[in-house]
């Protein structure tokens, strides 16, 4: 069993939102229901400012809160890939999953059912990139098996020549 997930590099993200639209185009979605969302946060007073951009979609968490929260057990986690998906025929749109999710990933679809990132379920895992991943000009999003992503993260941090600052965060994963 391989848990697949996303690795996001905040230092590379410029907040352009190409990932949002790539996801919508690939999944033939409606523009008001975005499975992937980019947030920008800026803090401080001019000119002492800090800011960051984050591109967030479903993290396909190991201990998915959405799955545990669903009163209809409409959300399931695939044994082989770790992919968390919503069964539209069981969902009633009560939005408890959104209440539970720390990332605000599940979205209300136009049919009154909840929907969210499916980790590009048609694309073979480990063989080609996810839509958001392949479109990002800065390659800020990387998908893969969690073990590989952790290794990558450690390697990138080790390569840094300037002061040590935790640059990459692996979300949705509990380090044992």
């Amino acid at each position: 069993m391989s848990q697949y997930g996303f690795y996001f590099d905040k230092e590379k993200c410029v907040g352009c939102r190409a990932c949002e639209v790539a996801c919508q185009v690939w999944n033939d979605a409606v523009q008001t229901v975005k499975w992937r969302n980019v947030s920008n946060v800026i803090r401080g007073t001019y000119p002492e400012l800090t800011g960051v951009n984050a591109s967030l979609a479903c993290m396909h968490c190991a201990e998915s809160p959405c799955k545990k929260a669903c009163p209809r057990t409409a959300i399931s986690k695939n044994e082989d890939t770790g992919r968390v998906t919503v069964d539209q025929s069981r969902c009633v749109g009560c939005m408890l999953c959104l209440w539970a999710c720390p990332f605000g990933a599940p979205q209300m679809g136009v049919k009154g059912r909840m929907e969210k990132c499916t980790f590009c379920e048609e694309r073979p895992d480990g063989k080609i990139k996810r839509a958001c991943e392949e479109i990002c000009p800065q390659q800020a999003i990387v998908s893969g098996r969690i073990e590989d992503l952790i290794l990558r993260s450690r390697q990138v941090v080790a390569e840094r020549l300037s002061y040590d600052k935790q640059a990459e965060v692996i979300l949705g994963h509990e380090e044992k």
């Binding site: 946060v41 009163p71 209809r72 939005m95 959104l98 209440w99």
Partner: protein, 265 residues
């Protein structure tokens, strides 16, 4: 056995099933969600609580008026609103009737809802709300069977048929009672069942045994429906108002994402 004994035994069994279901599928879930949100907030060191009590306007908009459905389709919204309002009002008056119109007067000298004007009011309101409910369900049933092929699954049609039968048999119960008690002083207020009663008489379904049989059938399907709520799509009756009120409060998803983003600063 007496029909009320049967009824209350049914209530105890179904009630237990309902409570087990509500505990497993609703209470535990909500408890978990509150726990997860608190844990994430504390773990993140965020200053503001994202999960706050929703504003009254949100609760009214989401839980009472279901504006979200209206944005999607006025037809679907009005159909659902008929069902929702009919059901809520009918259930409320059912409870009032049971307590004030059936049991209380055994203990207190309070006849208002038994033989006073209160009863007329109850009868009228229950018929009206029942009619609203039935209208909504009928529209839903027809729409589902004929038009909405892609929305229809076996479960959906079964459920709506169940509720439709519950409502219809309610009218039939009252109608058959009135058919066997044509001198009921409040018959005028049962404007639907009262007019249905002569039809039943013509079909030779009058008589107290027929009335009792229909009563028992209606009681059974109604109680079964309630027991089934937490295990079916009907669970949305309980969880959707809560879930939607909380998550539609302001820019909820965006606020959560911003909180995560802020943690990356």
């Amino acid at each position: 056995m007496d029909k009320f004994t049967y009824f209350w035994s049914l209530i105890i069994v179904a009630g237990t099933i309902f409570l087990i279901g509500a505990y497993k599928n609703v209470f535990l879930k909500i408890y978990y969600i509150v726990w997860v949100n608190r844990r994430v907030q504390e773990g993140n060191g965020a200053i503001e609580r994202v999960v706050t009590m929703p504003e009254i306007s949100t609760v009214i908009s989401e839980a009472m008026l279901q504006n979200r459905i209206k944005n999607r389709s006025t037809f679907l919204w009005s159909r659902h609103f008929l069902i929702f309002s009919g059901f809520m009002v009918l259930f409320f008056f059912d409870c009032v009737y049971t307590v004030f119109g059936h049991y209380l007067h055994h203990y207190l000298h309070y006849e208002y809802f038994v033989s006073g004007p209160g009863r007329a009011c109850l009868k009228l309101c229950m018929e009206f709300s029942g009619a609203v409910l039935l209208l909504g369900l009928t529209a839903g049933l027809i729409h589902r069977i004929i038009y909405a092929r892609q929305e229809r699954t076996l479960i959906d049609v079964k459920l709506i048929i169940l509720l439709w039968v519950v409502t219809l048999t309610g009218f039939l119960t009252e109608a058959s009672r009135l058919a066997s008690e044509p001198n009921d002083p409040f018959i005028a207020y049962s404007f639907i069942a009262g007019n249905l009663a002569p039809v039943l008489q013509n079909m030779h379904l009058a008589g107290s045994e027929a009335a009792t049989a229909v009563w028992i059938f209606h009681a059974t399907v109604t109680v079964a429906f309630f027991a089934y709520i937490p295990f079916s799509k009907f669970v949305h009756i309980i969880v959707a108002p809560i879930g939607r009120s909380i998550t539609q409060n302001g820019n909820y998803g965006q606020m959560k994402r911003e909180r995560i983003t802020e943690g990356l600063l």
